[in-house]
């Protein structure tokens, strides 16, 4: 959490970040340019003028294509359950992406994204029951509802940063959850059931898990691409600037609260789309699907995956759901034990999260980590 910023705020004084010893090049996928930044660094001293990231960029594109191809191939070979589990992970990964936009890219630890996830999901279910089973309409409506909900509530949170932001988003999330939990029109705590299967472009209902999976995958990939674009755009740079040194941004003439409000709304839209996807694959939504636990797991997925990287948190999302849904029952309901052990292990074994685990970087990380520890213990 951006505690530096908290400290700066509470004193009302400027804490110069230059005094903190953060001088390790390897500290972070928090790094600028979540995508190409890491290659830049591991690439060492390239000329610095050309497109030095071309080689790794291609390799990444190949990996991305392969991953999407494998995900797309899943319904052909796998039985319904693993496929629907993958759809669930994808929908959850979209929620995690929205948290990553705030937490990883902008440095705002968010615990309230489940609220916008829920807003999108309820919208999709209500449209499915009462208006149309068209998946595109539902998803777009979910996205818009997430955006609107974030725009309406976000102003409360974006003035703050650090743990204050965390607590304000928690308050938003819990309040919205409470409303859903007691509001009869959306089924209160029993949730909204009876959503018909989705259709696409006027086609037949998609009952089979495989077709639903393809739809969820397509939307998830589109959202991922959109978020990746934002992260690489000038706006993404602005957001990273806020994360790194908000006071300096202000001194440069930026209005950080405005930029934060923007990304908050954006993240709300992404979460809303994720909620719509979740509802479409489950054909049901209840307050339990948007509670504190969901928000916390989404934030944890980001931390596990490596904040700021985009694919790391997605992998984190898959890992978290895998542990919770599949491992828990097989060890007599002690899923939390495994989850806790995973958290501890991640901190000690993967200091930069899953995203830190790219081949050559691993060795460097271990060396850098040793150096950092020595330095800290010395201070």
């Amino acid at each position: 959490m951006n505690i530096k910023a908290v400290k700066a705020m509470r004193g009302g004084t400027h804490v110069p970040s230059g005094t903190t010893p953060v001088s390790e090049p390897l500290d972070g996928d928090s790094a600028c340019d979540s995508g190409s930044g890491s290659e830049r660094r591991s690439g060492g001293h390239e000329s610095g003028t050309g497109d030095s990231a071309k080689g790794p960029g291609r390799r990444r594109a190949v990996v991305a294509v392969a991953v999407v191809a494998l995900l797309a191939a899943a319904p052909v070979v796998l039985a319904p359950y693993p496929v629907s589990a993958m759809s669930r992970m994808l929908a959850f990964a979209v929620l995690v992406l929205s948290v990553d936009l705030l937490t990883g890219v902008t440095g705002l630890p968010a615990l309230g994204q489940a609220a916008y996830f829920g807003a999108g999901a309820y919208t999709a279910v209500l449209i499915g029951i009462h208006i149309t089973s068209d998946a595109l309409v539902q998803t777009l409506a979910g996205l818009v509802m997430g955006l609107v909900a974030a725009a309406v509530t976000g102003w409360v949170a974006v003035r703050a940063s650090g743990i204050v932001f965390l607590m304000l988003t928690l308050a938003i999330g819990e309040s919205v959850h409470q409303v859903a939990d007691t509001w009869q029109a959306v089924g209160a705590s029993n949730g909204l059931a009876g959503m018909p299967p989705i259709t696409l472009f006027g086609g037949p209902p998609l009952l089979a898990a495989g077709f639903v999976h393809w739809w969820v995958l397509a939307v998830a990939v589109a959202v991922f691409a959109a978020v990746a674009l934002v992260v690489r755009s000038p706006y993404g740079r602005t957001l990273r600037g806020i994360r790194d040194n908000e006071a300096r941004m202000r001194a440069l003439g930026y209005r950080p609260a405005l930029a934060r409000y923007g990304v908050f709304c954006l993240a709300g839209a992404v979460a809303g789309a994720g909620g719509a996807l979740w509802a479409q694959q489950a054909r049901f939504f209840s307050p339990g699907d948007m509670g504190f636990e969901v928000a916390a797991l989404a934030l944890l997925s980001v931390v596990i995956g490596g904040p700021g990287s985009l694919w790391g948190p997605c992998l984190g999302a898959a890992l978290v759901l895998l542990v919770r849904d599949n491992l828990s029952a097989s060890i007599g309901g002690h899923g939390p034990l495994v989850l806790g052990a995973v958290f501890i292990a991640v901190v000690f074994l993967m200091p930069r999260g899953l995203a830190g685990l790219t081949g050559a970087r691993l060795r460097g990380l271990i060396a850098a980590r040793g150096a950092r520890l020595r330095k800290e213990n010395a201070s």
Partner: protein
């Protein structure tokens, strides 16, 4: 040059800042003509830093006013002053350490060019931002390190990057807060050379301990003592001023006059 005839770029009128009963800056009047290189000196505790911060908007003034090109900016926060062309550097470099050197400068450039909130294209597609940022890096001699993390820069290089960032906001007035503090002799030499290359039209206010640097760079010098302006004028006049000598000697901190500032970091 007679700054009184044209509208001063920066004008302070009775600027005061107090902490409770302590008045750190006591009705300071000062005017900087466009393009002027002005240095602010004084013994430790003279109120330089407070005056500097109050002018920059980092601190709120308790009284008096700050005018930029004749417009009152006293009530504006630092960021708004920056948008009007008045920027400062920080004693302890304030950079985006987890971003590349190029990104540090690009952040300043893209704000000025009003693309800071564009997210429809990747940043590198905005070629003019890139070019502009590299030009500023080149001007401070950091182009070769454009792709490195800011955190990997040495102390002196960080100062250079600060300058590049500040220049990239296309300011009318740049305020340097003890820019050479903690620099080695060689770094200081490079820095002074960099300062001497700054565009002519740029107005500069510099707070500095190293009087050698001050007398090389400044066209006019203002001496602050106990929060008040003790003397103001061309470097030669200040050097000869007896009151100034007394103030420095009387404070029993002669070393401040000629030695590099110690204990700043």
């Amino acid at each position: 040059m007679t700054p009184q005839r044209v509208t001063p770029l920066l004008e302070l009128r009775g600027l005061t800042r107090s902490y409770g009963s302590l008045t750190a800056v006591d009705s300071v009047d000062l005017a900087l003509a466009p393009g002027e290189r002005h240095a602010l000196i004084g013994p430790n505790g003279a109120g330089k830093s407070t005056l500097f911060a109050t002018v920059a908007g980092t601190l709120r003034a308790s009284g008096g006013s700050v005018l930029l090109s004749g417009q009152d900016v006293t009530s504006l926060p630092e960021g708004e002053r920056a948008r009007r062309g008045m920027v400062r550097t920080y004693q302890h470099s304030s950079l985006f350490l987890d971003c590349s050197v190029l990104d540090n400068v690009a952040l300043a450039v893209q704000r000025v060019h009003r693309v800071a909130h564009r997210c429809d294209r990747a940043a590198r597609r905005f070629r003019h931002i890139d070019t502009e940022a590299r030009r500023h890096l080149d001007s401070v001699g950091l182009l070769g390190r454009a792709q490195d993390m800011a955190a990997a820069l040495s102390h002196g290089e960080r100062r250079q990057l600060e300058v590049a960032m500040v220049l990239a906001t296309e300011p009318a007035l740049v305020m340097f807060d003890e820019p050479t503090a903690g620099m080695s002799a060689a770094e200081t030499e490079r820095f002074v050379a960099l300062m001497e290359r700054l565009p002519e039209r740029l107005t500069v206010l510099i707070v500095e301990h190293d009087l050698d640097v001050v007398f090389r760079l400044a066209e006019r010098v203002t001496v602050l003592h106990l929060g008040k302006v003790l003397a103001s004028g061309p470097p030669e006049a200040i050097r000869a001023d007896e009151a100034v000598q007394r103030a420095y000697l009387g404070s029993a901190r002669t070393e401040d006059l000629f030695a590099e500032a110690g204990g700043e970091r």
